[in-house]
Symmetry: C2
Subunit: 200 residues, 2 copies
DNA sequence: GTCCGAGTTGGACGACCGTCCAACTCGGAC
DNA sequence: GTCCGAGTTGGACGGTCGTCCAACTCGGAC
């Protein structure tokens, strides 16, 4: 095969891994399958990545970065607290259904990493980044709409993740976007009921 | 090994599978690992079960049966709608934290079955049974407290599963029962806000 | 034109997988 | 006491896995 910059190989392999995991799950995403999907010999995998686990770690970071940016653009135009909350939740869903491979991969990798002590930190990192992202949204909501919460901010953030995780779990099985949208709307109502002192 | 009734072997292997999946995840739950956990030679596995997939299918049925029964006993004493809703949700959490292997196994198996077309029906069966269980609870609530809902019953049932799935996803990673309890209490409030016409 | 080192990769390593079968054991009917 | 069929299981089958190395290629410095 012709010579390719290592960064380009890395990018191609990460994209291939995303497709394979999205299509056939973590169980089928072997080094051989991923390299074949990228049109490379198997040995190229370990020329680019130190190990399989290292590739997964990079994949998680890449997917989380792209997701955080996509969702944050969906609340830029919000001019009410309701618009902001609904925009964030529906923006997350729009992103998930637009890039299902990324959403599937995230859940596959969390489930995969949960059971092995040496990989458990990966699942915790995912939730730490989710929590940080939600808290950044909450601070933006406070700055823009003066919202305060009736309960500790940490409990609100956790409840947001309960909503997205719960909707995702079901959507992963039935891929029913309309039903997911309805459930998220109920979630938005529940979140707004926790707000007080909204600046007019 | 001494002669053992096939049903006893089946029971022992299912219990062993539950332990292995709960401790090390689906990826480590091979026929060899499970048989060893049950103190049997590997070949016993295929003397009892037609295939690995058939064992998983039986395991799901067993776990769902036990779970449904455990939760239903936790609302028997409820004498208000709030007590009923909170009792059901907290009863589910009590069951999950009392038998973590069963809860872990259910999520591991759903994730495992999602990606393979030939196994996808298993994930759908799990949600069909969850939905049926929740709808049975809702009918019991209507009979006992005369409750009606502001939105379609199907949307309420789906929202209940969003709550349990979302709480479970996080609990599987951090095992924080207190935080799960708080999140479920918020979920109960959200559900009660969807109720109307409660008989006094 | 020569050479070097980075890029590339076929193929092997040991391990584990689900499944299966031939050979063995042994309780109980006769 | 004999025998049979159900119960039991060691070991093998072909497959996949992550990883690695020796051997090859080739762009670019000299």
């Amino acid at each position: 095969m012709q010579r390719i910059a290592v960064e380009d190989r890395r990018t191609a392999l990460l994209a291939a891994a995303l497709h394979v995991i999205g299509r056939e799950g973590m169980g089928a995403a072997s080094t051989r399958t991923i390299a074949a999907e990228a049109g490379m010999p198997t040995a190229s995998f370990h020329y680019v990545f130190a190990s399989y686990d290292a590739m997964v770690e990079q994949l998680v970071a890449t997917v989380l970065d792209a997701q955080a940016e996509a969702v944050s653009t969906s609340v830029e135009a919000a001019d009410t607290l309701r618009g902001f909350v609904e925009g964030a939740l529906q923006g997350w869903l729009d992103r998930a259904s637009a890039e299902p491979d990324a959403e599937v991969a995230l859940h596959e990798i969390v489930a995969w990493s949960r059971s092995s002590p040496g990989r458990r930190h990966l699942a915790e990192v995912v939730y730490a980044r989710y929590t940080a992202a939600v808290e950044a949204f909450m601070q933006a909501a406070e700055a823009r709409f003066g919202v305060r919460w009736r309960i500790p901010a940490g409990d609100v953030a956790r409840f947001v993740l309960v909503l997205t995780d719960g909707v995702a779990a079901r959507w992963l099985v039935d891929r029913d976007v309309a039903a997911a949208r309805t459930a998220l709307a109920l979630g938005a109502d529940a979140l707004l009921a926790l707000a007080q002192d909204v600046r007019p």
